[in-house]
């Protein structure tokens, strides 16, 4: 690494860094109680980047020869120069103090110390427990990942750290005639095998089967603007997809975000606070350092309804004269660094979930998310839920099928009038535009607000 860093400097990079990654993963998939695949994957490679007069050049590879990395360093500088010559305006990076740190993850039972047979058995147990007469198809998966990073840069940083993640998931598909409905759920985090050990796998699988069968009888959700009690997962989508993506510093620099001029302004009711926190213990998006070597950080994005600020990489910190927040992240050694979220969530309030429902005359309660879509330009929210429930006169009523929630994000946040104490975060991966997936988590409390509901 040191030779590559020297080569970056010698070739004329104003700043440069080298990141090596060694990624190991173990993945099990089972369906209908039969093994589908057991995969053991090892990826190793390095990526270099050079910053020249405001433009970046990247070069990466998987060769084990240091001469190849040195040659790639020169290439990265040449590529950056080409970009600079094409009219990229100069900009400055926010310089970080040089440090030399090695960090190990806080894992109680290392997945690499658990026999593969146990991992297969865990997935099989979930799959087996989903089985019942009305269920046409049972599925489960297990995955763990163990990534080791090393980073050195021209400012003298020399870092090494590991990230360990684990995930177990199930999906039951119930069938009746031509009709198919499904229920999906998972548990994940920056944790070890203890996460699986703590889970009642059979109950988890049976719960999915029950939910899938109930979905066959689920009613069409109501349509229109109405009170919606969002569950922690859907609250998290609102935090992540709209407010989070629009708070990414590069979108602010480009003035592509509807939040560009909102610092200090009211963007939600006083019950709404929101954070991005890469240090959140055990959450799927937690990281010791980002891909630029900046330590993870808890950033307050919204404080009691007032918009406070943005998430940053070294470059957006330099341009916007702010502190780096540890949000410069990359999918892997071959991909560029963008400003990305980590664990993004709304803070808890004072209410209990049941009290929120009891005080709702009519509306819906969401149950689990399927997907969401960013809109940093327009600030509109779209989320698809797995299912939900009608609320009638303060009571949870019949189950309704998956629905789409949409509306103007700020209008939704300003309509928040009840927030539960309890919060929860769900993990996942997040892309920027179409690509560049990184592990993240999103969540929050049960929140009552007004959203347009459709679909089913």
């Amino acid at each position: 690494m040191s030779a590559a860093v020297r080569a970056l400097e010698k070739a004329g990079a104003g700043f440069g860094d080298v990141r090596t990654e060694d990624r190991n993963a173990f993945v099990v998939r089972v369906a209908n109680e039969q093994i589908q695949s057991v995969n053991e994957v090892h990826r190793r490679g390095w990526g270099l980047r050079a910053f020249v007069d405001g433009a970046w050049g990247y070069a990466s590879g998987t060769s084990g020869r240091s001469a190849d990395a040195v040659q790639a360093a020169r290439k990265a500088v040449v590529i950056a120069r080409r970009g600079a010559a094409a009219g990229v305006p100069p900009s400055k990076l926010r310089k970080m103090p040089s440090t030399a740190i090695t960090l190990e993850p806080k894992v109680r039972i290392e997945p690499r110390d658990v026999a593969g047979e146990e991992k297969v058995a865990a997935a099989m147990e979930v799959c087996r427990s989903e089985k019942r007469e009305e269920v046409a198809n049972t599925n489960a998966s297990y995955a763990d990942s163990d990534w080791t990073f090393e980073l050195a840069n021209t400012w003298g940083a020399c870092l090494q750290w590991r990230e360990v993640r684990i995930r177990i998931a199930g999906q039951a598909v119930a069938g009746e005639g031509d009709r198919r409905e499904s229920a999906f759920d998972f548990r994940d985090g920056t944790a070890g095998w203890e996460l699986v050990k703590a889970l009642d796998l059979a109950a988890f699988g049976r719960g999915l089967a029950q939910e899938a069968v109930e979905m066959l009888r689920a009613a069409k959700p109501p349509a229109g603007l109405m009170p919606v009690v969002t569950d922690p997962g859907v609250s998290g989508l609102l935090a992540h997809e709209v407010m989070g993506h629009a708070s990414e510093g590069d979108e602010i620099v480009k003035k592509r975000s509807f939040l560009t001029d909102q610092v200090g302004k009211k963007v939600g009711s006083a019950l709404v606070s929101m954070y991005d926190d890469g240090t959140y213990p055990g959450a799927h998006g937690s990281i010791p350092f980002d891909a630029e070597g900046t330590p993870a950080h808890k950033t307050t994005v919204i404080d009691r309804g007032i918009y406070r600020g943005f998430l940053h990489s070294l470059e957006t910190s330099g341009v916007l004269k702010a502190r780096p927040t540890g949000n410069g992240r990359a999918q892997d050694f071959g991909r560029r660094v963008w400003v990305r979220m980590t664990n993004t969530y709304f803070g808890g309030g004072r209410d209990k979930k049941d009290e929120i429902v009891e005080e709702t005359k009519s509306g819906v309660l969401t149950r689990k998310w399927i997907s969401g879509m960013e809109d940093p330009v327009g600030g509109s929210f779209q989320a698809v839920t797995q299912s939900g429930f009608r609320i009638h006169k303060g009571e949870v009523g019949e189950r309704v099928r998956g629905m789409t929630l949409t509306g103007d994000a700020l209008s939704i946040l300003k309509s928040v009038d009840r927030v539960s104490k309890e919060i929860a975060l769900d993990g996942g991966t997040c892309g920027k535009g179409e690509e560049d997936y990184v592990p993240v988590a999103a969540g929050g409390p049960y929140m009552r607000c007004k959203i347009v509901v459709g679909g089913g």
């Binding site: 209908n32 995969n39 090892h42 070069a59 998987t62 970009g83 592509r256 879509m373 330009v377």
Partner: protein
């Protein structure tokens, strides 16, 4: 492969893919980031009786081969039997599909990509108060070889071009955005100036769009880009032999039934010239063949990898690992049943002619996310670039509205099929792509805020 057998496997398969890619990222009208990357990887599948295990590694030295084989052999001891495993392919596809690899694209360097990016940016900036906040142009050249212990060897090389292009217009906190994607096996046919003009128009229309109020039943004309993604996640799943075998497909047991309007014919075309997923062999090495899945609305059959082909009694040839926007990561997963080029047979009408036949409806060029439940077909997708149609003419641009309905029901109510095919894909690592024309559906509703 030989090492795996010497260490105890009855059968073994090796898949090696190497690729080089070059990308330019435009931000605020300038090429902020340029990158070059290369990667070589190996996937090993080992089998002993009915036990099958897979391992993968980046390939930098002979030690990596030993490591991957060792992991696969160790895996055999920990996996239960797969009673459906029917062995590895015995015949390989040979030759090349015309246009899958393009020499001019393979040799395009970063400077060439910067030129393409400038052409696009200049075209966008030709429109008033319009800029490029973000765009990606990437080319990739790849080669793979798959071999197994039955003695088959299949080779394939290809080039891929992927462009994700956006434009933004407006000022003082009020902005509109347009997005287009371009995908091809060659950079030469991609008209970056035309894409610039299209995306600038979409941005301007998005800025002018008004929130839609109420509910509009009628005809929805859908642009190919997002419609193709919807086809991949619904039809692509319903005719997927693995989903059929598992009981997930709503079309399981329906071969011979009418599942779509008579105007809808769908084929899987792995040998289509210049197709993004084209090749004479799939990623297991099986010889590919074009096949009809829906003919005039009637379900004709399914596609499958070797394992599910044997279970369903259909020809193999749809075992894929490589995606069509990028092949990165292809070696890290075993082949699974996926479409190659899922092609909706085009009609004879231009988009303008399709629109002219609509008395009342909406033309949707872009959704926030084109997501349909593949099991039930239900959807409610937020429109991002949409225009009302009144008496055959495009009228007001609308937003803050959902197009709702059931896509499987919509397939039975297709009232128009356009003539111009465009490619699209589902997501980054998903194999398979769709080539669909613009199509008109009756029975979907546009639902606004009140």
């Amino acid at each position: 492969m030989r090492r795996a057998q010497s260490e105890g496997a009855d059968a073994a398969e090796a898949y090696v893919i190497t690729f080089t890619s070059r990308s330019v990222y435009i931000e605020d009208d300038v090429p902020k980031v340029a990158e070059e990357r290369s990667e070589t990887g190996l996937g090993v599948r080992a089998a002993k009786a009915k036990r099958v295990a897979f391992s993968a590694t980046t390939l930098a030295s002979p030690a990596d081969v030993r490591s991957a084989v060792g992991a696969a052999i160790a895996g055999l001891k920990r996996v239960p039997e797969d009673p459906d495993f029917s062995g590895l392919p015995t015949e390989a596809g040979k030759g090349e599909v015309r246009g899958a690899w393009d020499a001019a694209t393979a040799t395009t360097d970063t400077a060439g990509l910067l030129d393409a990016a400038k052409t696009f940016t200049d075209a966008v900036r030709g429109s008033k108060a319009t800029s490029v906040p973000k765009a990606i142009v990437r080319i990739q050249e790849y080669t793979f070889r798959v071999a197994n212990s039955n003695g088959i060897v299949a080779n394939h090389r290809g080039t891929l071009v992927f462009a994700y292009l956006t434009a933004k217009c407006g000022s003082k906190g009020k902005f509109g955005e347009g997005i287009v994607k371009a995908m091809n096996t060659s950079i030469r046919p991609i008209d970056f100036a035309a894409h610039g003009a299209t995306v600038a128009r979409r941005a301007a229309e998005n800025l002018r769009a008004r929130a839609f109020k109420g509910k509009l039943p009628g005809v929805a004309v859908l642009d190919p880009l997002d419609l193709g993604e919807v086809f991949l996640t619904t039809v692509g799943s319903a005719v997927n032999g693995e989903d059929v075998h598992k009981g997930r497909s709503p079309w399981a047991g329906k071969v011979g039934a009418d599942v779509a309007s008579a105007g809808v014919t769908v084929r899987d075309r792995p040998r289509m010239p210049s197709g993004l997923a084209s090749g004479v062999a799939d990623d297991e090495g099986n010889a590919t063949q074009d096949r009809t899945l829906l003919e005039a609305g009637r379900l004709k059959g399914f596609f499958a990898d070797r394992k599910h082909a044997a279970l369903l009694g259909v020809p193999a040839g749809n075992g894929y690992r490589r995606a069509v926007a990028t092949v990165e990561g292809a070696y890290t997963r075993p082949a699974e049943t996926e479409p190659s080029n899922l092609v909706v047979e085009p009609g004879r009408k231009s988009l303008e002619a399709l629109l002219a036949e609509v008395d009342s409806g909406v033309y949707v060029e872009k959704f926030a996310a084109p997501e349909v439940n593949p099991l039930s077909g239900s959807f409610a997708m937020e429109v991002r670039n949409a225009t009302l149609i009144k008496k055959g003419e495009l009228a007001d641009h609308v937003k803050v509205a959902l197009l709702t309905g059931n896509f499987y029901e919509g397939l039975k109510n297709v009232v128009g099929v356009g003539r111009d095919l465009s490619p699209s894909h589902a997501f980054l690592t998903a194999p398979g792509c769709a080539y669909v024309p613009p199509m008109a559906f009756d029975g979907f509703d546009l639902v606004g805020q009140s």
